[in-house]
Symmetry: C2
Subunit: 235 residues, 2 copies
């Protein structure tokens, strides 16, 4: 229990809950370690658990074909996976794939729904998170439409870095291509360019952030807009 409380302080949604509500939620949760590339569920599946990441982060993906897809959301310690349960629908709208291995608090769906019933504060926080998610979804839609691969890549690296404990994380060009919905070659070129500018370095799937400020300058404004949306609703 003490360890649970320790890690819970790292999920921002939990930290902004009143103590009573947070402790009740933690009491029904179990700490788990999520491993890289683990698929927690696919679009259309029942949602068996809700996850509050504390160290891990999770990609929300819409598969298009076998080797094409698109990331429509990213959930780390600023958020929660399975928030659509709030809407009374236990069917996952997207595939959830662990993109950064690490810890999370896991809660059984039935227990979570029961707790949701009890806790007004929890409902309020998750409603706000859902609102933020919607706005960020719309932001992604415009980003996909208007911005160049290099800018979108820089944005994704920043978003991921924000949710990561370390400056290095594992992701190959192939998977980045899937996430951004472009060719692998497009990623290789963009990444190469970022590396030459000393903003990142990478080697066989391990990317290291060298210069956040430089990345921000190169990323599209969507990054800052998303941050501001989050801050003004859940800050």
């Amino acid at each position: 229990m003490l360890t649970n409380q320790a890690v819970s302080s790292v999920n921002h949604l939990l930290t902004i809950l009143p103590d009573v509500d947070r402790e009740r939620l933690i009491a029904i949760s179990e700490p788990v370690e999520l491993s890289f590339a683990e698929v927690l569920y696919s679009a259309g599946d029942a949602i068996p658990h809700v996850y509050f990441p504390t160290g891990a982060f999770i990609s929300l993906l819409t598969p298009v074909s076998a080797d094409t897809g698109l990331e429509v959301g990213l959930v780390g310690r600023e958020g929660v996976l399975g928030v659509t349960l709030m809407l009374g629908i236990a069917i996952a709208p997207f595939q959830a794939r662990v993109q950064g291995a690490g810890a999370a608090l896991r809660i059984n769906t039935a227990l979570f729904l029961h707790e949701l019933d009890q806790s007004l504060a929890l409902r309020q926080v998750l409603k706000r998170y859902l609102y933020v998610s919607m706005r960020q979804l719309a932001q992604s839609a415009t980003c996909n439409r208007f911005h160049l691969v290099a800018a979108r890549l820089a944005r994704w690296l920043l978003m991921t870095h924000d949710r990561s404990d370390t400056d290095t994380f594992h992701v190959t060009h192939v998977f980045l291509a899937y996430i951004l919905g472009v060719r692998r070659v497009g990623i290789t070129k963009a990444a190469h360019s970022l590396q030459q500018q000393k903003l990142i370095s990478y080697r066989r799937g391990d990317i290291t952030i060298l210069d956040r400020t430089g990345l921000k300058a190169l990323a599209c404004t969507c990054y800052q807009i998303d941050l501001e949306t989050y801050r003004s609703n859940l800050g």
Copy 2:
């Protein structure tokens, strides 16, 4: 009141409410006529009213710059404008612009929130609608990323036709370009092609649907996917 009941039967969300709940909602609503191009509110504005369109339909837009933007949603008699009030946030996430003139039931925000408190059935229906909206938002994101202008145009025409009383509606190439986030010339070419295939005809801002089946064949699958998402949750 009798007229209100008559028109309300044309908004699908209202029709699937239990009689009691629907009548209470109608009692606090007022019928209004929305006129073409009217901006009901902009992103960041307070939401003064909720609208259940019965004949009108409304574009949800994210402005990017003065003459660029992107449609992220379309609300007609299958839906409701202002559903994010469900989430306890009275700030509009998008601009709402009347795209098809016509009737709607308008409800004052405070009255609506009070009624939401009273009616479990209303909450359930709107939760489902919110879930559908999220999935459709994500679908738009992938559509923007992968599909060609002609296919996206065909999809938009079908979606609009579904929400319209007539086969002809008013929209210029300039505005279609704004909606789809492309150049005006891109629309002119795509529309020209659809016209040559006798799927539509148009003249100075008035577009007429001639062949729905042909349009469906040309539109991307996003159209069918959206329909199926709606049907399986609110059908």
